[in-house]
Amino acid sequence: MKVLTVDDAVFIRVTLREMLERHGYEVVGEASNGIEGVKKYNELKPDLVTMDITMPEMDGIAALRKIKQINPQAKVIMISAMGQEKSVKESILAGACGFILKPFNEEQVIRGLSKFKS
């Protein structure tokens, strides 16, 4: 299963990569902002995208909308923090297929993503 992680924090990206790769996901790309995320989505056509909401250049919700335009079936999981209810709502309405709350642990991430593993 090919995953693209989009997050402006290197730390989160590395943590996610380590978690995912331990469980047989293939992290095919990383992006540090929305613009890059959309570009990499186009290039890599991942099965799943994890998308941070608060990012420079282009935020996660805008990137989600663009990705959904490219592929309405795209599976995008938002990574959000507690207290971001408003942004989470917006992203769900924009077509996010789920969200993971920070701080997360490995078990939670894998449990959440396991639903998409076919």
């Binding site: 402006d8 590395v14 608060t54 989470v88 709502k89 789920g98 939670q108 959440g112 639903k115």
Partner: protein, 683 residues
């Protein structure tokens, strides 16, 4: 795909990234303070704090996470409300103290200590500030609901009034989510929005999941109920629910038509949770991609490389260059007709030369980060000393070797402190003198030849020649008529140990670290400092530093069978001794008199106990060396040439000895010791 950060472990990466973010934040805050307000950079500050909060929470550093969260809240509020009546300077102070706190905690982490800092006071102060600005806001409540949600909700409600049509099944589903997933109401919203592709009509309870975040608790305990009409098969629906994230359990069944059409059971929500209204404006504000933001983004593109690896690479390339010379200029090749070989050799030399340049450039770091630290120092000092000072930074992109950056920060900070503390006058004094009220400190860097100049210039009171001369006389530094001294010579006295003309000691300067230490630190990296000043107009400190410590200009000299390298920077002149110049002092020590000055003679072959045919002072060559005001004449057999050499530390098994700074490989592969002129003169 290998991660470029694979060398950095979890906490290390956290430290590295957070430090970068903090530096950026500090720059941003100070920059926006100068440009009149935080408004422009609010999004950026919010994002940085948000990122730090998230990462810190992941690392379970609660204190950092909480304090970052409180700042994030403030900026979230400001961002959403675009309030202009905020006390910027108070906010700046709060954010800077948060930056300091987090930096302190990160520093503890770096040194392996546990994080003990208590941020509750700071957090409270920030929360109080937020409460304060909230009361200032005239339109905090009563903004219209976000239309998207409204529309979606209404469409759901309207849908339920219509009954199932021909060929449609009416289903009821009850969904429970995992206990620890959080925001259950929004997870339910996810289910609804995804289910939309299967269902024609939807009804659900609780019905206010979008507006009321307190419904999360209700869903957690009682589950989320959905009624819908669909044409999809049960298998497809089961597949759908199986794919819902964090779904603990669900029940799905087809129900009777009449059941679905009965009025919706109103669910009573007796929770005391706050009713969150979506008062915020729609969408994220578009990023104002101003020039400053772009330059920040450009600064951000770093990768981290272990410095030890860089050093090894530098070392290896240095050896490669020499090995190349050993091969292509091998004496055994002489007189051979090897056209093809020499053609290939030229290619090799070109590439090794380019490689050396590239490796050198990798080690080069712009002075920007070091310079911008000074902004903070100037700001804090000016506030505390009640002065008005503006720091102008010029040429921050000038690059020098990383080692030099590390060594230049402290002396530079000292000079800046001096400039603000002793140089720039208080506002009233400046007013009386008719100067602009805001003092100016200019920090400039520029390339000049193989050196970098860093200039610290202030438009303050300047140095007092008489005061310095008087102090010099007291200290016995003047033994001759001092009227002929140039201003530069006089000002150079302030670089001498224990020399301070400032009587009062303030918090910032005069902590026992004098200009002599600054001069010494700069000399230690092969640089030099000079002072220029005009009383009443200002002072200029010029520092000249080499681009790198790894390569020096050296004069190779021969003593017996050995070849030594003398750093060219220390050499004043070389000459052959004439009879009239040699004198001996009463202790029978040899001295050379040049232009009225006496220089002691140091015979290198004696110093290093080397047998040589050239023991006579008149036969050899004299090298006059000077460092930090001390001079000597070295006797060597002959000068061999001048070249750039790659400095290598002496291997560990050789005892460190005074007078030797390191070693280098020469073009023919032989080893040459590099003289430590300072150490030689001391003995």
């Amino acid at each position: 795909m290998v991660s470029e950060y694979s060398q950095v472990s979890g906490p290390g990466l956290f430290v590295f990234e957070t430090n970068q973010l903090l530096d950026k934040l500090e720059l941003l805050i100070l920059g926006s303070e100068k440009n009149g307000g935080l408004q422009a950079s609010m999004d950026e500050v919010f994002r940085i704090m948000h990122t730090i909060k998230g990462s810190a929470a992941m690392m379970a550093f609660q204190n950092i996470s909480l304090v970052a969260h409180s700042v994030e809240d403030v900026f979230y509020f400001l961002r959403e409300n675009r309030q202009t009546t905020v006390d910027d300077s108070k906010l700046t102070d709060l954010v800077l103290s948060v930056v300091d706190f987090i930096k302190g905690e990160i520093a503890k982490l770096e040194t392996g200590k546990s994080l003990t800092g208590d941020a509750s006071g700071l957090t409270n102060a920030i929360q109080a500030f937020l409460a304060e600005i909230k009361t200032l806001d005239p339109v905090l409540a009563g903004l219209p609901l976000k239309s998207d949600y409204e529309v979606m909700r209404q469409s759901f409600i309207e849908a339920c009034r219509i009954e199932g049509e021909e060929g449609q099944t009416i289903c009821e589903a009850v969904v429970f989510f995992d206990d620890d997933c959080g925001m259950e109401n929004l997870r339910a919203l996810t289910v609804l929005s995804e289910l939309g592709t299967y269902a024609q009509k939807l009804e659900y309870a609780p019905g206010d999941i979008v507006e009321n975040d307190a419904t999360a608790d209700l869903i957690r305990y009682e589950g989320f109920r959905i009624w819908f009409t669909t044409t999809a098969s049960m298998t497809a629906l089961h597949d759908f629910f199986a794919q819902v994230m964090f779904l603990k359990e669900y029940s799905l069944m087809a129900i009777d038509h009449s059941d679905a059409s009965k009025p919706r059971i109103p669910r009573c929500i007796d929770l005391d949770g706050p009713l969150v209204t979506a008062s915020e404006s729609a969408g994220q504000p578009a990023d104002a991609t101003g020039d400053s933001e772009q330059s920040l983004a450009a600064k951000q593109s770093f990768i981290s490389v272990n410095v030890a690896k860089m050093d090894t690479l530098m070392d290896l390339v240095g050896e490669l260059v020499i090995a190349e010379a050993m091969v292509t200029q091998n004496p055994e090749l002489q007189d051979l007709n090897l056209d093809k070989f020499f053609k290939a050799a030229r290619q090799l030399r070109k590439i090794t030369g380019e490689l050396q340049d590239v490796v050198m450039s990798i080690r080069m770091v712009p002075l920007a980060a070091t310079f911008h630290k000074m902004t903070r120092i100037v700001r804090d000092m000016a506030r505390n000393l009640d002065k008005q000072v503006e720091l102008e930074i010029v040429g921050e992109q000038t690059e020098v070797d990383k080692n030099i950056i590390e060594n230049i920060a402290d002396p530079l900070m000292h000079l800046i402190r001096n400039a603000v503390d002793h140089g720039i006058e208080p506002v009233d004094v400046r007013a009386a003198k008719g100067k602009p009220l805001t003092g100016k400190v200019r920090l400039e860097a520029k390339n000049s030849g193989g050196d970098v100049w860093i200039i610290v210039q202030d438009d303050g009171g300047g140095l007092n020649r008489e005061k310095i001369l008087q102090k010099a006389r007291e200290r016995g530094l003047l033994d001759q008529d001092d009227s002929g001294l140039t201003d530069k010579q006089v000002y150079a006295f302030i670089l001498k140990p224990g020399f301070s003309t400032k009587e009062c000691v303030t918090e910032y300067s005069g902590r026992g670290v004098g200009m002599d230490v600054v001069a010494k630190n700069i000399a230690a990296i092969g640089g030099a400092i000079s002072v220029d000043s005009a009383e009443g107009v200002g002072t200029t400190m010029s520092i000249r530093i080499p681009l790198t410590l790894a390569i020096i200009d050296g004069m190779t000299v021969k003593v017996g069978d050995s070849v030594y390298t003398v750093p060219t920077i220390a050499i004043k002149e070389s000459f052959r001794l004439r009879e009239q110049n040699l004198i001996t002092d009463p202790d029978n020590r040899e001295m050379i008199m040049i232009r009225g000055q006496c220089y002691p003679v140091l015979r290198l072959h004696e110093r290093f106990k080397i047998k040589t045919a050239v023991a006579d002072l008149y036969e050899g060559i004299m090298l006059m060396v000077e460092l930090e005001g001390k001079s000597a004449c070295l006797l060597v057999d002959a000068l061999l040439g001048q070249q750039q050499v790659v400095v290598k530390a002496l291997p560990g098994y050789i005892k460190k000895m005074q007078g030797i700074a390191g070693c280098t490989l020469l073009g023919d592969g032989s080893v040459s010791l590099i003289l430590d002129v300072d150490g030689l003169i001391q003995t």
